[in-house]
Amino acid sequence: MAEIQPPVEEIRALVGHEFPGGKYTVAHWENFLLTECTGAEPLPDGQVHPVVLFHMPILGANTSIGGMFALGQAESDFSIGIESYDWEIERPLHEDVEYTVTGKVTEADRMEGSLRGASRGVYDRIQFRFELHEPGGDFAASSTITWTYRRSRS
């Protein structure tokens, strides 16, 4: 089997990588469908269901789930695992408010151990942090995503 692990130096060099950043506004239809997927009723006063803190920061920072897979040189969609999600909510998010979003890689390194459902092996652990600010500049929320990128052995 050919060596297909990216050089560890390339993985470690991801720390500090910043996504372009941008703006994101959650429309009513998006919040409605998102909330329905969770099995809950719509929240009052146009509040956005906090599950939005997964995809809104990613898309608002002008990247994508696929883009984050590619940044870590994922072997395939199936090689990605979730280590943890950490969401902080300083102010509840609302529909039709334009939030400013920033995002960057905060940790990246090669590890060895057992991942869920798989035997012991090599993987890269990459952590992303996104922040959302209200139009006036106040901090609203953050999302820290830590994924594992399973690597095949040579």
């Binding site: 998006e30 997927c37 969770t38 809950a40 199936f78 943890s84 999600y85 950490d86 909510i89 869920r116």
Partner: protein, 138 residues
Amino acid sequence: MNVQVGDSIPEWVMESVRPERMRTMAAILRDPNPVHWDRKAVAALPFGLGERTINQGPLGLSYMLNMLMDWAGPTSVQRITMRFPNVVLDGDRMVANGTVTAVREEDGVRLADCDVWLAREGEQPCLEGTATVALPED
């Protein structure tokens, strides 16, 4: 709201994780991973999961958010941190649970720290983590 360490949070139940919700979620998330919408792709994995799609991690997390918001109010959740030791599959009946581990005050707001988890009844958690919730005034 009278809350004490050791209190159980009323459980929140997803009676059946529905594959069509995973598909809607995949579209909203722009998530290209077929494990969330293609049962044959899941069956082809070496994990013995059968032809059942895998629920998105954030959707499982949302069941615990729903539990916390039903308990303490829609604007109550201040932080939630979650790990994912096992997958949730379409058709699963999932129960969100929680217990209060600390009650404290910060900047004049009463906060409850909680352990939270999501499991099939009688099984080990599929998701587990912690949350901090602002408690409503009495």
